[in-house]
Symmetry: C2
Subunit: 320 residues, 2 copies
């Protein structure tokens, strides 16, 4: 498929274990053309996330994909450090990859997104699976990008499910609610992929073992990166496994997985400093008899999908 | 059953259509001794709620139950008026009852609750199905009542379900979040009966028709009071019917219905003026493998019950 007939994708991430799996899925998706990756602090600091991303791309032989270091601090708070207990000290489960021969580009993630939005007028598909700081920064610098972007698919939030950062806040949104408020107010169509669906998409230990045993360097690295993450998830699922948070957002944006329940509803970010800080307040009243779009709502909230992600994810990543 | 072996119950309400049904269920429950009813503004103003309550009691031949008028205004805001579109102009669906020969007692609802808590040391069961203004006022006047009360069962809040006053706030809590914050901070055990379970307990039109056709004045009045309310609920359920919000709290407090999933978890009221105002933030993280009580949590959040309320409710109310 020639590159110009595929969908240009800008990917914003904080790599991160499940970000690494999401990158693998992007690289295994001929439907899209990965035109740039911006990194942000979240699971780990933005510079380390970029290094992890570059090293993963090099391992896959994809040093052609430009990577930009984005925002280190959140809009209203300094980055407090990552979550090594989940993602390992280096962000990718302690796995040491060969350093990429290529460095990050000389552009911030916000600048890269702005440039790509203009270069791919009306066609750029944005996928964001970390805090929304880079996207908010880009909107602040150049608000005209919003209508230039085809869609923004966001892994984040908890609609009716419990949060993970707080009882109601999911980490990506909860780490930088001010940025999320800017992103959800912008005039671009959003597909929100919240915990409600990501925690229902689980990769099992026998599937991880297939990656480790594949005999190919890239899938094996992904399997090894997932090892500690699987240990963390025992507390949630009662067994070694993991939620496919970031990969699900990629799968939906690419078209591998189709939402079956995804009403367009008002979504407001709680950016107060009260107990609801960081919540994605999705107005899901009146949905009892089936999904109903609210007039004027620009954000679809994915509440159910057509099939489980794990099998197709495994098949694609094993092909790398 | 002699009165002193039954459980003394103080009922706090804003009668109100479903409050009327809850009162009917209380009067049809020999398990408890209804020692007092306090009224508060919510579905209608507190004085009208007391008049409706007194008239219902008189129709049932229970002029012995004392009724107190409680708080007209919320703790931090004046009462903005009731919701005639749901509860009718007079609060009980426009049905005109014979006026009770008895008036409200010369005590506020808060004073009544304080007195009853002391008189029934360790035994008083409180059921609150309106805004929590009276309970908060009582706690402000006499904080010593909290450990004197056996339990407080509250119809209110939305745990994982959508709200009804806002995307996340249920009306009873959302109308007076400051009062709710006081009530949920007090050192008494709370059973929260949120929309998650109340909207799953539905009375159907053929059941309402049984009340209307019963030939007995009290059940017939309840059936007639429900008429307009059933019309309102068409938008939620797609057919004439209604949620048994307030009656479910009574049924659980009395022991007619038993919660099957009701973890004791941290519950924090959002009393900010942000978009989450009025939300009952229940910490339901970590409940995926089954209900887990959080150490020190004093509030049980009812998420599932053992059987539907409608059949037993109907049987009991038809007996009045």
């Amino acid at each position: 498929m020639p590159a110009d007939s595929t969908v240009p994708v800008y990917f914003d991430c904080d790599t991160g274990v499940d970000d690494a799996v999401a990158i693998a899925l992007l690289l295994a998706s001929p439907e899209i053309n990965l035109v740039g990756i911006g990194c942000v602090s979240g699971n780990i600091d933005a510079a380390s996330a970029a290094r992890n991303t570059l090293d993963l791309l090099a391992l896959a032989g994809r040093t052609d994909v430009p990577v930009a270091i984005g925002e280190h601090d959140y809009l209203s708070e300094p980055f407090p450090g990552g979550v090594p207990v989940i993602h390992g000290e280096n962000g990718i489960g302690g796995v040491v990859l060969d350093p990429s021969p290529v460095g990050p580009i000389d552009e911030s993630a916000a600048q890269m997104l702005i440039r790509l939005a203009h270069e791919n007028h009306g066609r750029l598909r944005v996928i964001a699976v970390g805090p929304l700081t880079n996207l908010a920064r880009a909107l602040r610098i150049d608000p005209t990008i919003a209508p230039l972007v085809e869609s923004v698919t966001i892994m984040g939030g908890a609609a009716l499910a419990a949060g993970n950062l707080s009882p109601v806040a999911e980490a990506n949104i909860g780490h930088d609610p001010e940025a999320a408020a800017i992103v959800f107010s912008a005039l671009w169509p959003i597909v929100l992929v919240p915990l409600d669906v990501t925690v229902e998409n689980v990769l099992e230990e026998h599937e991880r073992q297939q990656l480790v045993a594949s005999g190919r360097p890239f899938p094996r690295a992904i399997g090894e990166i997932l090892d500690g993450y699987f240990g963390f998830y025992v507390r949630l699922y009662g067994r070694r496994s993991c939620a496919l948070h970031d990969p699900l957002a990629v799968a939906i944006a690419v078209g591998i997985i189709t939402p079956t329940v995804a009403p367009a509803v008002s979504v407001v970010i709680d950016d107060t400093h009260g107990p609801g800080r960081g919540q994605t307040i999705c107005d899901l009243r009146g949905q009892r008899q089936g999904p109903v779009d609210q007039p004027g709502a620009r954000c679809r909230v994915v509440l159910a999908t057509d099939r489980p992600l794990a099998p197709v994810l495994l098949e694609r990543v094993l092909s790398l």
